[in-house]
Amino acid sequence: MATVRLKKGFDIHLVGAIADKNITLSSAPQSVAIVPDDFHGVIPRMEKKEGEHVAAGEPLYHDKNYEAIKVVAPVSGTIREVLRGERRHIDAIIIAPDQSHDATTLDLKRPAEEVLLASGLWAMMRQRPYDVVPVPGVQPRDVFVTAFDSAPLAPDLDLVLGDNRQYIAKGVEVLNGLTSGKVYIGIREGQSIDAPGAVVNTFVGPHPAGNAGVQAANTVPVNKGETVWTLDIITLARIGELFTTGKVSHDTVVAVDGEMVQQPRYVKTVIGADLETVLKNELTNVARSRIISGNVLTGVKVEPNQWLRAPYRHITIIPENNVPDEFMGWASLNPKRFSIYRTFTTWLGGLRKPVSMDSRIKGGERAIVRTGEYDAMLPMDIYGEFLIKAIISGDIDKMEQLGIYEIAPEDFALAEFADTSKLELQRIVREGLDKLRAEMS
């Protein structure tokens, strides 16, 4: 039990936070979908065809290289469509749910790794290096579980967890059996958790303190040749539940918030549920809204006729473009034009007031000019700017030396927000990780 104080980073306070902590129960979804892109590192090979029936928890597809990694159906129903894009890339697998409530029960007498792989929960975890679904057969040095989400407007994970907190202890026990090291759980100040067998550390500081990778870097950093797993407390509780009842629950509580949401609230639904059902009364001003599955920093833009993406417990709706053709925005003295830098006047009114922000980039892409911007947003012992340059120039040795194994794209999300040069840092980091992974295999 230690307390880690992080100074770097920034909490963006957006308007549209949830005031009411009650959880609304959503009606049964019209359709449920799994998007393979959400499970980075898994190349899908379908196990089910269009028109076939699946039970909840039954595999939809497995990985091309490791057949044991399964991605499962969150509900029982019929596969309505396998949406394919360019070069037969699978965009989404859409299930029309039935009310049969068939669910797969797993045999808990098999080795824990096999059970996890078959249950689909394995695919919900990530590993460092590369920020991909963990490779089976590689024993992780440690497991890092984050118990809070520090991103803008993020849900309170204690609330999302609800009664499932009873399964945390079991989850820790299972993961302790799979790692050669320890299970670390990161909590925020004031949070408490009952997790015998785990090392609980408190993290004080602004976002990205809630990122599992940031927590790992500030406790036991990842070195070359080592593997650690990262997951959040919700997945940990699901693992505990699986090893208690033999079944995986795919229900989830989702925070629906942001400026364009009339009544920000928590909604209980199921993984992959269609947004038309989940957002029923919120889709009034679709043309001016951007719907994000996840938070404004790391989430994915989705259309109103699409689905809640599997890794997220959060839907944010922000305005698409508040001020079309803003005249000479760079000369603006408007205190409402939000900037964390003092080149604008926002800071005079304080940076803690909730602000309205739209999705405009507000500038053109440039070479890196200002110094220290990335470092101020990345609480790790890493020279962010030099690492980004190494990735852009494709210098694999430099990437390794500068610590690419410790990072995931999400760790650079805040730097991407703050970047004066408007570079797509998360995309750059992702490409760097993919390149390295291809090179090492």
């Binding site: 079309p324 020279y383 999300a413």
Partner: protein, 395 residues
């Protein structure tokens, strides 16, 4: 703007001016582009805002520079009691052609280069274009300024890839080009005080006692054990004159007060690195104190007391506006301290012990520009070694 857009896109009549159109459009209107990948919200700050803030920080030095040109001029023609506004107006008219030439030549090259590469016009020259008139002696012929600007923009910037990619500060390369190509016009009596009329204003005959050398120029040629610094009329001047800026020199560099106002703007907005700025002054002050402790008639500048040393010439201007250029300076925190200190030390070292160059700041900054990547490399290497050691212990 949207109506005329199609003619600028590929296939349109004016497709050759696409970059210019983009440049004008993004200048007038914040781009409507919304994020496609990655984060969905972006900070309001962009490079345009950053650059324009630097230009604002340069304004006090620019305005005082204009006034001082007029002040020195009317002093030289024996009309010292002319009103301050007339003096300012004269300076304005004297500087306007230089500013126009600097921007037209520099931006022209940037526009052409952007169009050749089919890129957006970038705003790096906004600052360079105003820095050049501030550091080039006022009597430099316009064609020289044009040639030097063109040389600097092409060979110090565009060949490296444009804004953000250059190794040396572009404005200083302009100054250095002039300094080495036309040395006779860059120092001495005739460089720094404009005595003829500016666009028809301020006619007069120069008084007999006139001497146009800068205090540092006078120091360099000083003979004997005591220093004699005078204004254009041969009257002695002191540190306070240099601090306020009533001395001959390049337009932007004379007034410590105006430069400090600019420094305050840069530091308050967080654009310039306070680490670099402060360590340049610390390095300069330390070195100046050292040479002052060992005064010698052979090196007259060693007889200047440290505070005067910093107030004279381009030291303060270089420390505040040139050394802090993030593109050409050190980028790591520790590196910035080292980089700044060495600039301060070298500037005074060159000033005092190399009589060929009474002004050392330009060369000191250009020298350290070359070494900045090396300094950063050493600092980053320590991080790399720490990581390697951590991995080794584990095994």
């Amino acid at each position: 703007m949207n109506k005329i857009e199609p003619s600028f896109r590929p296939g349109g009549k004016l497709a050759k001016l696409e970059s210019v159109y983009d440049g004008m459009e993004t200048f007038l209107f914040t781009p409507n582009a919304t994020s496609k990948s990655g984060v969905h919200i972006h900070d309001g700050n962009d490079l345009k805002r950053t650059m324009i803030t630097v230009v604002v920080a340069l304004l006090p030095a620019l305005l005082f520079g204009m006034y001082n040109i007029g002040y020195q001029h009317y002093l030289a023609i024996g009309q010292a009691n002319t009103g301050w506004f007339t003096m300012f107006l004269y300076g304005l008219l004297a500087m306007l052609p230089v500013i126009v030439v600097s921007y037209v030549v520099g931006l022209g090259i940037e526009f052409i280069s952007a169009q050749i590469h089919h890129k957006e016009i970038q705003e790096g020259f906004l600052v360079t274009g105003i820095l050049i008139p501030l550091i080039v002696p006022i009597n430099t012929p316009l064609w020289m300024t044009a040639v030097a600007t063109a040389f600097a923009v092409i060979f110090a910037k565009e060949v490296f890839g444009g804004t953000g990619m250059n190794i040396f500060n572009v404005a200083l390369i302009t100054r250095a080009f002039l300094f080495f190509a036309y040395p006779s016009r860059m120092s001495g009596d005739e460089a720094f005080v404009k005595v003829d009329s500016a666009l028809g204003m301020g006619d007069g005959t120069v008084v007999d006692v006139f001497t146009g050398a800068t205090p540092l120029g006078q120091v360099a040629t000083n003979v004997g054990d005591s220093l004699h610094m005078t204004n254009v009329l041969g009257e002695p001047i002191n540190t306070l004159d240099a601090f306020i800026g009533y001395i001959p020199g390049s337009p932007g560099e004379t007034s410590m007060i105006a430069i400090l106002i600019g420094a305050a703007i840069l530091l308050l907005t967080g654009i310039a690195s306070w680490r670099i700025m402060c360590s340049v002054f610390v390095g300069g002050l330390g070195m100046a104190a050292l040479v002052h402790a060992l005064p010698s008639a052979a090196y007259p500048a060693s007889m200047l007391d440290p505070m005067t040393q910093l107030c004279l010439g381009g030291f303060a201007f270089g420390a505040v506006f040139m050394a802090t250029d993030p593109v050409t300076g050190a980028r790591t925190k520790l590196g910035q301290y080292i980089y700044g200190l060495l600039i301060g030390v070298f500037a005074i070292l060159i000033r005092v012990y190399n009589s060929g160059y009474p002004e050392g700041m330009m060369l000191a900054i250009l020298l350290m520009n070359a070494f900045a990547p090396l300094i950063d490399h050493c600092v980053v290497s320590s991080n790399i070694k720490r990581r390697a050691r951590r991995a080794a212990i584990k095994e």
